[in-house]
């Protein structure tokens, strides 16, 4: 994210946990991270200390991301042409410093050494002799030579050794480093290699059909064990100097005691090195494994069992390892691919030895490996129990109340416990409606904020059944797979039509206002997978079509106007991956999953060509080049008449121009849309609901993106549309009847004049061009013209209500909570709210609902014991203890919104004005008065930071009060207005300065100074003020020593000329500070 707009996601997970297949393992709870476009191939930690917990991930497509584990912030990302299959973190010693490096290998013949903070490739380790892909590697620091050694095995089974000297580590240019040693060890299909960290003298190599132990000095073979019964080994590790654990593809693990010949401590060490010439594979006592399997198969299902097997009667030769434990995976019903197993060895006290396994059902299983071998070695059987086993779904199921889905309250069928799954959804921002297609073929239209309020907040709506009012469309026989609201993409479509596709092969057009089914298309021979809107400059005929893609690899152009399919392209052999357009040539370009590209003529339906390879890539890329339509028609003599006609279509042009103008103003202020895919497309909407799923068969979960800036703009726009307060002249105020105190009113007038000016400026600043007004008006007209049976409500205020209610730290100040509930109309959440965090490049992390698991458990316990522990106690406090970045974002949002609301007329979420858009009949005087009071109070927030000024303000307030009392025309009593305003200011003040004290430092992560400093000059005035207030408060809180630390930390990044003035206040410096990339997100 460019860091400009302040967007906060809130996620509604629904009851079904996102399914995931664990493809790489690292202990990592808390949040789900989004950002990769292809499946993740490997993970690695990327920092050494416990204070900074970073994690690096790589995907099939060559992307690499560096994440902060605490809050899921993406710190850095990069993309290389090659895909990594393995990454290891290592700290190389350079002089006295230790530099974090990531060593990557994959589908390329080198090992790339990457900087662990910037993700830049520093240098590469290259093989001179028979270079090939590296299948696994290991890094060790030799005590003798004080050098770091990288040992790797290539896919052809050649062992390579690189020595990383300090010179090499310091190297900056991309000179390759050649290997020190290269030795064939005849290990085909090597899966993993690892050093014995205990003795540093042996090396374990696990291949799919056998595992071997080598001497780490000269790489001579010490021991080799084949796999039994067609099982293939996939990994292994030393767990002690004399013990190894090896795991198989199907999830069994075996612990072997190494024979004496492999133990450097033993006198027999290397005693068989010479013998290996006869048969490098020592005879294994087969009876052991056989018996083990039989025993296990007799109904040990669902348990991990460790069987201590009797030593067989055969000669236990020196180099025969002894099988000590076997672990069986839990029976999972639907394992679709081999599980991943890793061994973790705690580096600190207590030295846990854990075996962790993750499978395709998303289950994690942990075994604790015992230190000692079973005491009676011969006859008794020891069991190794699963220490912990958890899957995300299990955790979701345990939660009380269960995680909310967006329309759960409308979807529970009588007699069943689970709601009908939502399978497709689309959000219509202009109407604030969410359209959800469900598993049973029905489609529900529901106001998005209202339904989100039901899911998240407590209130009177809890008593009503079937709330909020909604509309159900029935027509599909089975699951709805995709939904499209074409008018949202382009205004050329009728705003009534909604298009849906289902697994019943049909595409249906609906009228969303009447709920009528307009037409059913049955042209495809498979489930509809996608519905797409053609681009603007297609032929008129195509412009009124939607493009449908089905799982029978066919593409159709369905005309909404003619109600018929005008083209069906169905000769593709592979699933369709991408649809692109070449409007000026009248081409539809279909990219298939195998890389082939089909070019279809839209008008005739003829297949123009079918290509592969470079040409295919070039054609697809050429479609992305934007060709301005007007220019094109002039330069291109070959453009057919029909298209020329299209471009001459005045109405369409006019329409477009109008639309562009309207959106221009808002777009200027709203976030730049250049960010990556999962950012809301309509960023000038304060709320965007985005459906997500991790698996095609999963139900949708919904993420609500709140754009704080847009909420503020909308609130101010609505406020500005009320009669202009500047029209109220001081004269009218003076003429006001009643025995107002003359002296008082004089002073009040003076203040009022000043305040008025500020308001004027303020409004000027926030008022967009007239276009914006027009747009708003048009929108309202549209809304009025609709014959809607659905509830009318004020979208902006509702959004603000939902957002503020979610953000407020409930349960810290009882008095304020009362004010919030009764005066301001906020609602308490009834479940912990899962927030998310959007960071660099549109990477997003979402908190899982289980993140407050421990607290919830405490709650359940409390209930059982009859002790009352309020839900809101848990709800409010937690989000400020997650991470500093999250705190910053949330505080900024809550304070800037509270400030905005303070300045509004009806700054409460209770009352008639919530039902519809603001009316124009509000009496003038009240507006001006309450607005000026609001502004004063708002000033008070900032002034309150300096006490003496606050006192002067407190003095002036009564005058205002008396002045307002003299005005007869007001719908709210001034007291009430004032209560609202002070309520908001209290709320802002609490979040601004009191949180650290109220929460205690252990539960409060202070906001990040860098993030606040970056908003010091934010383009949105409210956000800017909030950031400034927060920054000042934080600087005050950290005290002198904290400020000094900050300056010390930032000093290296400051330009030289600032040094002379470094004694100035640190905030001054922040203006000119180019901060290190990794701290600013």
């Amino acid at each position: 994210m460019s860091g400009n707009s302040l967007v906060l996601p809130i996620v509604l997970w629904g009851r079904n946990a996102p399914t995931h297949c664990i493809s790489s393992l690292l202990i990592n709870p808390r949040a789900l991270l989004f950002g990769h476009t292809a499946s993740v191939t490997c993970l690695s930690k990327a920092s050494a200390g416990s204070d900074k917990q970073y994690l690096v991930s790589a995907s099939e497509s060559g992307e690499m991301c560096l994440w902060d584990v605490n809050d899921g912030r993406c710190i850095e990302f990069t993309k290389l042409a090659c895909a990594h299959t393995g990454i290891q973190f290592y700290q190389f010693t350079i002089g006295t410093q230790r530099e974090g490096r990531l060593l990557c290998h994959g589908h390329y013949p080198e090992i790339l050494v990457v900087d662990a903070t910037s993700l830049e490739v520093l240098y590469s380790l290259v093989s001179k002799i028979s270079p090939d892909w590296i299948s696994s590697m290991s890094i060790i620091r030799s005590h003798r030579t004080q050098e770091d050694t990288v040992v790797a095995v290539s896919v052809t089974g050649i062992l390579k050794v690189w020595i990383i000297t300090a010179d090499v580590s310091r190297m900056q240019d991309l000179d390759p480093v050649f290997e020190e040693e290269s030795k064939p060890i005849y290990c085909q299909g090597c899966q993993s290699i690892s050093f014995c960290t205990f003795t540093q003298l042996s090396l374990l190599v696990v291949c799919s059909k056998y595992w071997r132990v080598f001497d780490a000095g000269d790489f001579s073979l010490l021991c080799s064990v084949p796999s039994e019964n067609n099982q293939s080994w996939v990994g292994g590790e030393f767990i002690a100097a004399d013990k190894v654990i090896i795991w198989t593809e199907d999830g069994c693990s075996y612990i072997y005691k190494l024979p004496a010949s492999c133990l450097p401590a033993s006198e027999h060490f290397r005693s068989n090195v010479g013998k290996k010439a006869e048969g490098s594979i020592p005879p294994l006592v087969y009876s052991i494994a056989d018996r083990a399997d039989k025993q296990l198969e007799e109904g040990w299902e669902g348990q991990c069992v460790v069987v201590r097997l009797p030593d067989s009667a055969c000669d236990p030769e020196l180099y025969t390892p002894e099988l000590q434990y076997i672990q069986r995976p839990l029976e999972a019903p639907l394992l679709i691919c081999p599980p991943v197993t890793r061994f973790f060895f705690g580096r600190r006290e207590p030295f846990h030895k854990l075996l962790i396994q993750g499978d395709s059902a998303g289950r994690l299983t942990v075994w604790s490996i015992p230190e000692t071998s079973p005491l009676q070695p011969l006859s008794s059987a020891a069991e190794l129990q699963v220490s912990v086993s958890i899957s995300l779904q299990e955790a979701f199921d345990k939660l009380m109340p269960s995680p909310a889905g967006i329309i759960d309250q409308l979807s529970v069928l009588p007699g069943s416990n689970d709601p009908i799954k939502v399978t497709a959804s689309v959000y219509i921002p202009s109407q604030g409606r969410l359209v959800c297609g469900r598993e049973d073929g029905s489609i529900v239209l529901v106001p998005a904020t209202q339904t989100a309020i039901v899911q998240l907040l407590q209130g009177e709506h809890m008593l009503r059944r079937g709330w909020p009012p909604h509309r159900t469309l029935r027509g599909h026989r089975h699951k709805v797979t995709c939904l499209l609201y074409p008018h949202q993409v382009s205004p050329r479509y009728d705003q009534r039509s909604l298009v849906s596709g289902g697994v019943d092969f049909s595409v249906i057009i609906w009228d969303i206002f009447t709920g009528e089914m307009k037409h059913i298309f049955c042209v495809h021979g498979g489930e509809i997978t996608q519905l797409i809107v053609p681009p603007e400059n297609c032929s008129t005929r195509v412009q009124h079509c939607v493009c449908s893609v089905a799982s029978d690899h066919s593409v159709g152009l369905l005309s909404l106007r003619e109600r018929k399919c005008i083209m069906l392209a169905s000769r593709h052999l592979f699933p369709i991956q991408v649809i692109k357009w070449r409007p000026c040539d009248d081409y539809l370009v279909v990219g298939c999953s195998d890389g082939s590209v089909y070019v279809w003529q839209m008008d005739t339906g003829a297949l123009d060509r079918c290509v592969m390879g470079i040409t295919a890539v070039e054609i697809l890329n050429a479609c992305d080049e934007v060709v301005p339509a007007a220019m094109d028609s002039l330069n291109h003599p070959a453009v057919n008449l029909k298209q020329a006609m299209t471009r001459r279509s005045l109405a369409a042009l006019k329409n477009m121009a109008q639309h562009k103008l309207q959106t221009l103003a808002t777009n200027l202020l709203a976030a730049d849309n250049a960010d990556k895919g999962n950012l809301p497309k309509y960023s000038h909407n304060s709320l965007v609901v985005q459906a997500m799923k991790t698996n095609l068969t999963d139900p949708d979960m919904h993420v609500l993106f709140f754009d704080v800036e847009a909420v503020i703009i909308q609130l101010l726009t609505e406020e500005a549309q009320r009669p202009n307060p500047t029209l109220v002249s001081p004269e009218t105020l003076q003429k006001a009847p009643g025995g107002a105190d003359k002296g008082g009113s004089f002073l009040a007038n003076k203040i009022f004049k000043q305040v008025k000016e500020t308001i004027k400026e303020n409004i000027k600043e926030h008022l967009l061009d007239e276009d914006e007004d027009e747009e708003e008006e048009q929108r309202r007209r549209e809304e009025k013209s609709k014959s809607l049976s659905l509830l009318e409500y004020n979208l902006t205020m509702d959004t603000a209500k939902l957002f503020m209610s979610c953000l407020h730290a409930w349960g810290l100040n009882g008095e304020l909570d009362e004010v919030c509930l009764n005066r301001l109309g906020m609602l308490k959440p009834h479940t912990p709210i899962s927030f998310g965090l959007i960071s660099r490049g549109g990477h997003m992390s979402l908190m899982l609902p289980t993140f407050k698991d421990s607290l919830l458990r405490q709650l359940a316990k409390g209930c059982a014991e009859g002790r009352k522990l309020s839900v809101s106690e848990i709800v409010g406090k937690g989000t400020y203890g997650v991470s500093r970045a999250v705190t910053t974002q949330h505080l900024l949002s809550v304070i800037s919104l509270a400030n905005t609301l303070m300045g509004m007329t009806n700054a409460t979420f209770i009352g008639e004005h919530m039902k519809k858009a603001p009316a124009r009949t509000v009496p003038r005087l009240t507006v001006s008065l309450s607005a000026c009071m609001a502004l004063l109070c708002r000033l008070s927030l900032f002034l309150s930071l300096s006490l003496n000024r606050a006192r002067s303000l407190a003095l002036s307030l009564p005058f205002i009060l008396s002045a307002s009392r003299s005005v007869p025309l007001y719908p709210f009593t001034p007291l009430k207005v004032l209560m609202c305003v002070t309520g908001w200011s209290q709320l802002a003040a609490m979040h601004c300065v009191m949180l650290p004290d109220l929460l205690g430092l252990d539960k409060f992560r202070p906001p990040l100074l860098e993030m606040l400093a970056r908003r010091w000059q934010d383009r949105c005035l409210e956000v800017r003020e909030a950031a400034q207030a927060l920054l000042l408060a934080e600087l005050r809180r950290i005290g002198q020593s904290g400020r000094k630390d900050t300056i010390d930390m930032w000093a290296p990044y400051l330009p030289q000329y600032v040094d002379a003035v470094s004694s100035r206040k640190s905030r001054k410096i922040t203006h000119t500070t180019p901060l290190p990339r990794q701290v600013v997100n």
Partner: protein, 291 residues
């Protein structure tokens, strides 16, 4: 009225009975698919891919453990300025003889690989490794393995197809390089006599063809009036492309591309395409039957 209602009711009953029967049949069919058909397809795939994999390491007929050496004469039908004779042994070019006729002077330059050097074609190695990985995936599920769900088959097919697509893409889409990258590559240092500064060569595979590109360069004057624009990365650069290397600015004056079909690469491409189609068909069957 009542009669018609009754008849529709009985029809409905019939229909549900029929669909019940149909459902059982479909279920049986799906079981058959998982038990028999999947393994048959997997076997077929393995056979094809083994054949493909074999092409990458053809043993030489006389010598044990040595890969077969093949000579290819590279030429083009339209021009005869460049001729090359390349010896391919597995993934490595072991010998190369290149003759370049310089247009103006009609002088013929001759270059050959140094005896101690050979050039590895990374594209072939990558394709080979990808095929072997696909084979490894397939062999992990032999006849004794019982597939329980369609999802399991799908997942396996996805993994296999990913490797196969990559293998094919490596051959069909050569790496695009910038000219400075090319100038810095080790290839330039492999020839005897050493390549002059104004000639660059590049080898790559495009589809089933072994290609050789020769760029003739001329040095641009440091303070040339011509506006210098560095060319991006491309598989084949056009005359006029400019670049800077070692603080000298160059412009490509002539580009010669010659190629020759490698028959066994053509075979492997065909094998990849067939296996990809087999995989997709199996996937489609699983998806259809699953419901």
């Amino acid at each position: 009225m009542l009669g018609t209602e009754r008849s529709t009711l009985s029809e409905l009953a019939k229909m549900t009975a029929a669909s019940q029967a149909e459902r059982t049949v479909l279920e049986e069919e799906f079981n058959w698919l998982l038990k028999e058909e999947v393994h048959a397809v997997l076997k077929q795939l393995q056979d094809i891919l083994k054949e493909a994999s074999r092409r990458f390491s053809m043993p030489s007929p006389g010598l044990e453990g040595q890969l077969k050496q093949e000579n290819f004469i590279l030429g083009s039908s339209t021009m005869d300025q460049v001729k090359g004779v390349l010896t391919l042994q597995g993934e490595a070019l072991t010998q190369a003889d290149i003759n370049i006729k310089v247009a103006k002077s009609s002088q013929v330059m001759h270059f050959a690989f140094r005896d101690d050097k050979q050039w590895k074609l990374q594209q072939i190695q990558d394709a080979r490794n990808h095929v072997n990985q696909a084979l490894q995936l397939l062999s992990s599920r032999d006849e004794s393995y019982h597939f329980k769900t369609g999802a399991e088959v799908n997942k396996l097919m996805d993994a296999v197809m990913l490797q196969l697509t990559r293998a094919r893409n490596r051959l069909t889409t050569p790496a695009s390089m910038t000219l400075p990258e090319l100038a810095a590559s080790g290839l330039m240092k492999m020839f005897t006599p050493p390549m002059p500064g104004d000639v660059m060569v590049n080898f790559y595979i495009n589809l089933s063809k072994l290609c050789l590109t020769v760029y003739q360069l001329h040095v641009l004057q440091p303070n040339t009036t011509k506006n210098f624009k560095s060319a991006g990365s491309s598989v084949l650069h056009n005359p006029g492309a400019m670049f800077e290397y070692n603080n000298t600015k160059f412009e490509v004056s002539h580009v010669h591309k010659v190629e020759c079909v490698v028959p066994w690469l053509n075979d492997t491409l065909v094998f990849f395409t067939i296996s990809l189609q087999l995989c997709q068909q199996l996937k489609d069957k699983c998806v259809l039957r699953q419901r």
